[in-house]
Structure formats: structure tokens, C-alpha cells
């Protein structure tokens, strides 16, 4: 068949799913260790509080980014999974359905199960319909918690009652900025590591294939619905974990954590950071918080600055800041002598 091989274009090496787990685990371990150093280097409790919140939202942003990366779908209502998990922790504290440790696991599993079952219906819809339905689900939950005053405290929200120890660790560890930053940072690194392993796995390649060309994927022999629903579920589980960390740290939940504005902010983080890399949205979250903090000091109209940043990134860097970094990293070795 060599006669057919004519006029081949030269191109970039493929984005093959080559597993590099050992080096990847080393990088994850180094990042976790780096997280331990931060509280030692940052003396300000306020700064640590802000950083801890940023890391929690980074996990939420990573969960949305994973959905965009693997399924090509943007959720406008990912706060539903975040809030669902946080409210489960709060409601369990109030009604004592199960031990707090079990509630943590349930708060991750419930959004995943909910997303998988709804995903079996909505991931097959056009992208815009999917986005609008996620928004509708999140807003429905928001309204439910807003109006369910007797149980969930309505607009006033509700405290998250926690036992004195959780998983054998004193609860103060989860509520002090210095220690909670390390916990959240570790959770972020683990979430990114796990989602990266999934993205590079055969399952990850399959879901990219479905994203690229669903019909062709069926004609090479795969079912396409369940894998997409499973990606949605994994994404929701990560968002649920962020919600659990939020409830542990703040010990208080309000309907605001189910509101579309939180989903929107997390989506902006994912877009700014870029969903091409699993870690991109985490970078976007850090940038978002830095810009928000700096802009908030300058003007009460800080959302306009965030909006300008979003427009600039969308127009100039369609792959986000992580995409720019990846391009620079790809070019750099070629310039070496």
C-alpha cells in the first residue's frame, strides 16, 4: 500500500494517551508537599482563608473542566452538585441520618448517582439544551432550599453540625485556615491526579472519541451514552467533594451555593484556565480569585474586570491559559540547540 502514501503533511505528534503514572505520581506528591509549606510561608489568616476558598472552588472548576474536556459539554448548573453535597452534610448534622464519615461519602456519591441517572437522558441532547437543563436543575434545587424554611432554613441557611472528630481527626483541623488549606490542597491534587488518570485511560480516549464523533464511535463498536453519563457522574462527584469541603470549612450553608452565579463563576474559572488540561481550571480558579481580590480593592464594579478578562481570554486564548502554557512548553524544547 506504499503507493498510496503520497504527499503526507507533517504534523504535531499525536496526543496519544500514554500513561506516565510514576512521574505523574511524583509530581502529585511534590505538589501535596508544597501545600504543606504554604501555611508556613503565609502568615495572614485572611490570606489563608481566601486561598482555602480558592482551592475549594478550584475543585469545582476542575470538575466542570473535566466535563468540557471529555464530553464537550458545559454545565451551567454545576453548583447543584456542590450545593447538594453541602446541604446533605448540613441536613445530616441536623437529622442524624448517618455518621458524619458516612455522610461525607454519601455527599460525594449522591451527586454522582444523580448526575449519572439524569445524564442518561440529558447528555444525548444538543450542547445548548444540556447546558440549559443543568441550569434548570440547579435553579430548581436553589428554589427548593430557598423555600423549604422548616427543614433547610430557607434564605437564612442552616448551620452544619459536625462531631468533634471526623475520620479520626479533630474537627478544628477542617475549620482552621492553615490546616484546612492543606486538606483542600491535597484534595485538589488528588482530584486532578485521579481525573488525569481517567482522561489518559482507555475510557478517557473513548470519551474523547465520542466527543469528537459520536456516530463514528458507534460504528467502530461502542455504546456512547453510558460513557458520557459516567463522565458527568465523575464530574459531579468532584463537585460534590468541593461541596463537602465547603460545608466542613464554613460549617454553614445557604441557598446561594446552589445559585447559577456560582456555576457561572466556576465556568469562568474553567474557561480562563482552559479545559484542555485537567489542571487548567484550577489555574483559572487561582487567577480568578487573585483578580477578584485585586479588582475588589480598586472598584465595586469588579465583575466588569472579570468579564473583560473572560472576553480577552476567550478571544485571544481559546484554549485558556493552560493551553498557552502547553504551547510554550511544546515550542521550548525545539529551540534548544
Amino acid at each position: 500500500m506504499n503507493g498510496l502514501a503520497v504527499a503526507r503533511s507533517s504534523g504535531m505528534p499525536g496526543s496519544g494517551a500514554r500513561a506516565r503514572v510514576p512521574s505523574f505520581l511524583i509530581a502529585a506528591a511534590v505538589l501535596v508537599a508544597a501545600g504543606f509549606a504554604v501555611p508556613l510561608l503565609v502568615g495572614s489568616q485572611l490570606a489563608l482563608t481566601l486561598m482555602t476558598q480558592a482551592v475549594i472552588y478550584a475543585i469545582l472548576a476542575v470538575s466542570i473542566g473535566f466535563l468540557i474536556r471529555q464530553n464537550g459539554l458545559a454545565s451551567f448548573g454545576h453548583a447543584a452538585f456542590f450545593g447538594m453535597a453541602a446541604y446533605l452534610m448540613a441536613l445530616n448534622g441536623r437529622f442524624g441520618w448517618m455518621p458524619a464519615e458516612a455522610a461525607v461519602l454519601a455527599a460525594v456519591a449522591l451527586p454522582a448517582a444523580f448526575a449519572f441517572l439524569t445524564g442518561l437522558i440529558i447528555v444525548r441532547l444538543p450542547a445548548l439544551s444540556f447546558s440549559m437543563l443543568t441550569l434548570a436543575v440547579a435553579q430548581s434545587l436553589h428554589e427548593l432550599m430557598l423555600r423549604w424554611r422548616a427543614v433547610a432554613g430557607g434564605d437564612d441557611g442552616m448551620a452544619v453540625r459536625l462531631p468533634s472528630r471526623l475520620f479520626g481527626v479533630g474537627i478544628e483541623v477542617f475549620q482552621s485556615p492553615a490546616t484546612m488549606f492543606v486538606v483542600c490542597w491535597g484534595a485538589l491534587v488528588v482530584v486532578i491526579a485521579l481525573l488525569t488518570v481517567v482522561a489518559r485511560s482507555r475510557f478517557g480516549v473513548l470519551t474523547i472519541a465520542i466527543r469528537e464523533n459520536e456516530e463514528r464511535t458507534r460504528y467502530v463498536g461502542y455504546r456512547t451514552l453510558a460513557p458520557r453519563a459516567l463522565v458527568f457522574a465523575l464530574s459531579a462527584a468532584a463537585a460534590g467533594l468541593a461541596g463537602v469541603l465547603f460545608s466542613l470549612y464554613n460549617a454553614f450553608v445557604t441557598p446561594g451555593i446552589l445559585h447559577w452565579s456560582l456555576s457561572g463563576e466556576a465556568l469562568i474559572m474553567a474557561v480562563v484556565g482552559g479545559a484542555q488540561a485537567v489542571w487548567g481550571p484550577a489555574l483559572g480558579a487561582m487567577i480568578f480569585f487573585i483578580v477578584k481580590d485585586a479588582a475588589g480593592d480598586l472598584t465595586e464594579h469588579w465583575p466588569a474586570i472579570i468579564g473583560t478578562l473572560l472576553i480577552a481570554v476567550t478571544v485571544l486564548l481559546p484554549q485558556g491559559i493552560s493551553g498557552l502554557l502547553a504551547r510554550v512548553a511544546a515550542i521550548a524544547p525545539r529551540r534548544k540547540p
Partner: protein
């Protein structure tokens, strides 16, 4: 139980009042290359779709090596051994060449990825993204996705579209070799009459959703109705 590799029995498909396919029956012998020709709108691609389970509801039945696959979804038909390529290049742009052929091989549970890449001259491009290779290479990649896993029946919808004359003839030779050595049965839709007449054991001619004629290349060339409806002087 029939001895046919693939059989379509009275296949019909309607779009409103228009019969795109009207009671078409087709039997392919194991290892046969069957050419499928006809003017635009004759129902060739619709017949391909009906055989592989694509598109809307279809009347009639489809059997693969005697097994009724009429109600099976496309992915199950593929795993049962019925593969197809598409009229428009249909690959996975963001995936590597080898990566996507290996993906298809896993579904077929027969990993002959390297063999297929070699046979189709894609081995050198194995690490490239599909989006970065030429159109001709993408056409061969499309064929590789259908061919990997050694399906028993291959439905090829204009595989030579966009290829040069030389590439088309090499492709024709390759199909002939594969049908012989891999025992693959091929149903080939192609507008390049040189390709069709050089590789096909038999040819079916469709016109207005119906079978106009069937026979060997010589018989089709000699069929006055076929010449009038489709061939004209193109194979003189």
C-alpha cells in the same frame, strides 16, 4: 440459515412520500466484492445505512452469516462483524492515528492494529493526530477504522472519493487482496467506474430506490437499460 455473508431482504425506507429504498434485496457471498452503482439519489448510501442500522426505520430484514441483525443497534452489528466507512471522511480529529485504530480494535476484540496500519501505509503516521494528516491519509484512516478487527463484511461508501487516479487504483488492488487473503466480503459504492469494474466480482445497479440490474461487469456493461440510465458512454 443462509450461506450468504450478508443478506438484505426486501429493504425499504421512505422519507415522507418518497421511497428512497423500495423492496431491495441483496445477497453477498463470502469473500465477494460487490460493486454498488447508480445515479445520484438512486439509494446507494441509503442501502448502506439500512444494512448497518443507520438512520430511520427500515422495512425488511438484514442477516449477517444467517443471523438476523435487523433489530440490532449499529455498535452491536459492528462487533458482530459488519463494518462500514463513510462517504465523508469520518475519523476522530483530536486522537492519534494509532490511538483511534487501537480504540476500534479493542471494540472488535481483535488487536490487529499494527497489521492494519502497515497494510494501509499508515504506520509512519501512527503518532500523528488525525487532524494533522492529509485528506488522502484521512481517507485511509477511515478505512482502517472499518478494517481493524477483521470484520467479515465491509461496507465502503466511496472510499476513493478525493483520491488521485493512482491512489484509487492502489486502493482497488488492496481491496482485491484483502477480500482474498482476509476473506472479507465487500460492498463497495463508488463513482469511479474504473475502480468498480476492476475489483468487483459482481455489480448491483440501483435506480430510483430499486434494483435495476445485477451481474458481472461484462453483463452490466452489456445491459442496455443500465447504459441508458447510468453508464452512458462512461465505460466504453
Amino acid at each position: 440459515m443462509t450461506g450468504f455473508a450478508l443478506e438484505g431482504i426486501e429493504l425499504s425506507r421512505r422519507y415522507g412520500g418518497f421511497a428512497a429504498l423500495d423492496q431491495v434485496s441483496l445477497q453477498l457471498e463470502p469473500g465477494e466484492i460487490r460493486g454498488l452503482i447508480g445515479p445520484n439519489g438512486a439509494g446507494k448510501s441509503t442501502l448502506m445505512d439500512a444494512l448497518c442500522g443507520r438512520g430511520g426505520p427500515t422495512g425488511g430484514r438484514v442477516t449477517l452469516a444467517g443471523r438476523d441483525i435487523s433489530r440490532l443497534p449499529a455498535q452491536v452489528r459492528r462487533r458482530a462483524g459488519l463494518a462500514r466507512s463513510f462517504q465523508k471522511t469520518n475519523v476522530f480529529p483530536a486522537l492519534g492515528v494509532r490511538e483511534q485504530v487501537a480504540l476500534a480494535a479493542r471494540a472488535a476484540e481483535t488487536d490487529n492494529t499494527d497489521e492494519v496500519l502497515d497494510v494501509l501505509g499508515l504506520a509512519e503516521l501512527a503518532g500523528h493526530r488525525a487532524a494533522d494528516i492529509s485528506y488522502g491519509d484521512q481517507r485511509r484512516l477511515d478505512l482502517a477504522l472499518a478494517l481493524v478487527g477483521r470484520p467479515s463484511v465491509l461496507l465502503l461508501d466511496e472510499p476513493a472519493a478525493g483520491l488521485s487516479i493512482q491512489e484509487s487504483l492502489v486502493l482497488a488492488r488492496l481491496l482485491k487482496e484483502l477480500a482474498g487473503s482476509w476473506k472479507v466480503t465487500v460492498l463497495l459504492v463508488e463513482h469511479d467506474m474504473e475502480v468498480i469494474f476492476s475489483v468487483s466480482d459482481r455489480i448491483t445497479v440501483l435506480n430510483l430506490g430499486r434494483v435495476l440490474a445485477q451481474g458481472t461487469g461484462e453483463e452490466i456493461r452489456a445491459n442496455a437499460e443500465v447504459v441508458r440510465a447510468y453508464l452512458g458512454s462512461s465505460v466504453e
